[in-house]
C-alpha cells in the first residue's frame, strides 16, 4: 500500500499450540484496508488457525492481534464488537438449517445490529440478489446445492457490513462445477475494495484477485509476496515444492 496508514489487521509474534503440534510459530503480519490477501500452504500449516485467531474463534497462546485498532486479547475489548466488523465464511458453510435463507441473512442484523425487520429484509434481499440467488429466499438451506449454500453464507456475513471478510477454504467442500459460482462472487467483492483474507487452494483466484500471497508451512510465514512473485520467482524451497505439487496437473 502506498499510504502509510495504520494496518487494519496487525498480527505480532503470534504463536499457538495444539497439544504438541505448533500450529502458529511467531507469525507477524500486517494487512491494510482494501487488501486482498490469500494464504496458501499445505494442510496442517496453520493457515486456518491464523484466520480463526483473527476473530478469536481460536485464542493465541502468545502474541497480539489488533483488528481495526482494537486489541483482541485485551480483556477490556468486547470481542463481539470486533466480530461484528469481521465477517467469516466457513468451509462447511454452517448455515442455520432451521431458518430459511432469508432468515439466515436477517438474524444477526436484527439481534446484533438491532435493525428493524423491514430494514434487515431489504438488506438481505439485496445481498441475495448480489450473490445471484434471490429466488431461493424462502428455501431452507439443506435443500440448496453446496455452491448456493456458500453464496448464502457470504451474503449472511456481508449483511453485517463487515470491514474485513475472512474466508476459510470456502470452496474446498464443493463439487468442482460449483466452485466457479462462489469464486465469481468473491472476485466481485475483491473488486469492491473490501479487505479480504482468504485461505484457499484456488490458485486461479489467487492470481486474479490477490494483492498479496502469504505462504505458510508448519506454522511459519515463509513467504509474503505478490501473485506474480509467487509464480515467477518463488524464493523458499518449500514453496517451490508446494507449487510443483499443486500445479503439476
Amino acid at each position: 500500500m502506498t499510504e502509510p496508514k495504520q494496518p487494519i489487521i496487525q498480527i505480532r509474534n503470534a504463536s499457538k499450540r495444539f497439544r504438541n503440534v505448533l500450529a502458529l510459530n511467531n507469525v507477524n503480519l500486517d494487512i491494510h484496508a482494501g487488501q486482498v490477501v490469500v494464504i496458501i500452504g499445505p494442510s496442517g500449516s496453520g493457515k486456518s488457525t491464523l484466520l480463526r485467531c483473527i476473530n478469536r474463534l481460536e485464542v493465541l497462546d502468545e502474541g497480539d492481534i489488533w483488528v481495526d485498532g482494537m486489541q483482541l486479547d485485551h480483556s477490556a475489548t468486547n470481542i463481539n464488537r470486533i466480530r461484528e466488523e469481521v465477517g467469516m465464511v466457513f468451509q462447511q458453510f454452517n448455515l442455520f438449517p432451521n431458518l430459511t435463507v432469508l432468515q439466515n441473512v436477517m438474524l444477526a442484523q436484527q439481534i446484533v445490529r438491532k435493525r428493524s425487520k423491514d430494514a434487515a429484509e431489504r438488506t438481505a434481499r439485496g445481498l441475495l440478489e448480489k450473490v445471484g440467488i434471490p429466488e431461493k429466499a424462502d428455501v431452507f438451506p439443506p435443500k440448496l446445492s453446496g455452491g448456493q449454500q456458500q453464496r448464502v453464507a457470504i451474503a449472511r456475513a456481508l449483511a453485517m457490513n463487515p470491514k474485513i471478510m475472512l474466508f476459510d477454504e470456502p470452496t474446498s467442500a464443493l463439487d468442482p462445477e460449483m466452485i466457479k459460482e462462489v469464486l465469481d462472487v468473491m472476485l466481485d467483492l475483491a473488486k469492491e475494495g473490501i479487505t479480504m483474507v482468504v485461505v484457499t487452494h484456488e490458485m486461479g483466484f489467487a492470481r486474479a484477485a490477490a494483492n498479496r500471497i502469504i505462504f505458510m508451512d508448519q506454522g511459519e510465514k515463509l513467504e509474503d509476496t505478490t501473485p506474480e512473485g509467487l509464480f515467477e520467482s518463488p524464493e523458499s524451497q518449500r514453496l517451490q515444492q508446494f507449487l510443483s505439487k499443486i500445479l503439476s496437473h
Binding site: 463481539n80 466480530r83 461484528e84 465477517g87 466457513f90 454452517n94 448455515l95 439481534i111 445490529r113
Partner: protein, 296 residues
C-alpha cells in the same frame, strides 16, 4: 405385485389398498389388538354395576394425575434446560454444582425423593419460613389462610398440600433426567453452528437462544415426550403420601371393599389408555421429524 396397484391409469385407485393393509397388519396389529381389548373392557365396565361403582370412585383422580404430570413436566423442562446449560458451562462452579444435582437426583429412587420432600424438606422449610414474618404472611396468603388470621398464626406444615410438595419432587427428579436429554440435544448440534453465530457477532446467550436451542429442542422432542409418558406413570408413586390420584383412590377403594381385581382393572385401563395414546403421539412426532429430515 398386482397389476391394478401399479397401473396409474386406473382412476378409482386413490390409495394402494394392498400396501396399506400390509402396513397395518405388519406394524399396527398391536394397536388394533389394544383397541379391541379396550372395547371389551369398556363393554365389561358398562355392563357390571360393581365395575361402574369402582369406575365412579376412581375417575376423579384422573384430573389429579394429569395435573401433577403436566405441572411437574413444565417445571422439569425449565429446570432441565437451565441445568443442561450449566452442564456445558465452562465455569467450573456452575458445571460442578449442576452435575452434583443431576447425579444426586438420578441416583436416588423417586419414591425416596417423594418421602423426603413430604416429610423432611417441607417441614424444614416451613420451620425456616416461620422465622421470617414477611415470608410467613406471604405464604399463608398464597395457601389461602383467611386474611384476618394471617397476622396472628404461623404457617403449619399441613397448610401445604401434599400435591404441591410432591410436584417439586417430580419436577426436580425429572428435571435431572430432562437435563441429560437437553444436553444430548445441544451436543448433537455441530460446533460450526456456534462458531458461525459467534462470528456474526452474537453473544453466547444469543447464539444459544436463536441458533442452538431451537435445533436442539427439535431434535429431542420425541425423547421429551417419552419422559412425559414415564412421568405420568411415576405419578402413581404419589399414592404413598395420600395424594388423591388414581392409584391412591384405587388402593383406598379396593382395600375398603376387598375389590382388588375390579380396582386394578379400572386402574390399568386408565393408565394404558393415557400412555398408549401418548406413545402413538410420540411415534407420529418421530416419523414427522424423520420425513422432515429426509426432505432436507
Amino acid at each position: 405385485m398386482s397389476i391394478s396397484s401399479q397401473d396409474p391409469s386406473s382412476p378409482r385407485q386413490f390409495i394402494d389398498v394392498r400396501k396399506f393393509t400390509t402396513q397395518i397388519v405388519r406394524h399396527r396389529s398391536w394397536f388394533v389388538s389394544f383397541i379391541v381389548l379396550d372395547i371389551l373392557v369398556v363393554m365389561a365396565i358398562t355392563s357390571d354395576p360393581i365395575l361402574i361403582e369402582t369406575w365412579n370412585y376412581i375417575v376423579p383422580g384422573i384430573a389429579v394425575t394429569i395435573q401433577i404430570a403436566i405441572v411437574s413436566f413444565i417445571l422439569a423442562t425449565i429446570v432441565g434446560l437451565v441445568t443442561a446449560l450449566g452442564r456445558i458451562s465452562s465455569n467450573s462452579l456452575i458445571y460442578n454444582s449442576s452435575t452434583l444435582y443431576v447425579e444426586l437426583f438420578r441416583g436416588l429412587p423417586l419414591l425416596v425423593i417423594i418421602l423426603i420432600f413430604s416429610f423432611v424438606i417441607t417441614p424444614a422449610l416451613i420451620d425456616f419460613v416461620t422465622t421470617i414474618p414477611f415470608l410467613d404472611d406471604l405464604l399463608q396468603h398464597l395457601v389461602g389462610i383467611p386474611e384476618d388470621r394471617i397476622a396472628t398464626t404461623l404457617l403449619r406444615t399441613r397448610d401445604i398440600e401434599e400435591t404441591t410438595r410432591i410436584i417439586f419432587a417430580f419436577a426436580l427428579t425429572y428435571g435431572a433426567f430432562m437435563s441429560e436429554v437437553f444436553r444430548a440435544g445441544i451436543e448433537s448440534i455441530g460446533r460450526g453452528q456456534m462458531e458461525a453465530a459467534r462470528s456474526l457477532g452474537m453473544t453466547y446467550t444469543q447464539a444459544m437462544r436463536y441458533v442452538i436451542l431451537p435445533q436442539a429442542v427439535r431434535n429431542v422432542l420425541p425423547a421429551m415426550a417419552n419422559n412425559f409418558v414415564l412421568l405420568l406413570k411415576d405419578t402413581s408413586l404419589a399414592s404413598v403420601v395420600a395424594v388423591p390420584e388414581i392409584s391412591h383412590l384405587t388402593r383406598q377403594y379396593s382395600s375398603n371393599r376387598f375389590r382388588y381385581p375390579q380396582g386394578l382393572l379400572i386402574l390399568s385401563f386408565i393408565y394404558a389408555n393415557l400412555t398408549i395414546i401418548m406413545s402413538m403421539g410420540v411415534y407420529w412426532l418421530e416419523s414427522r421429524l424423520k420425513t422432515d429430515k429426509r426432505e432436507d
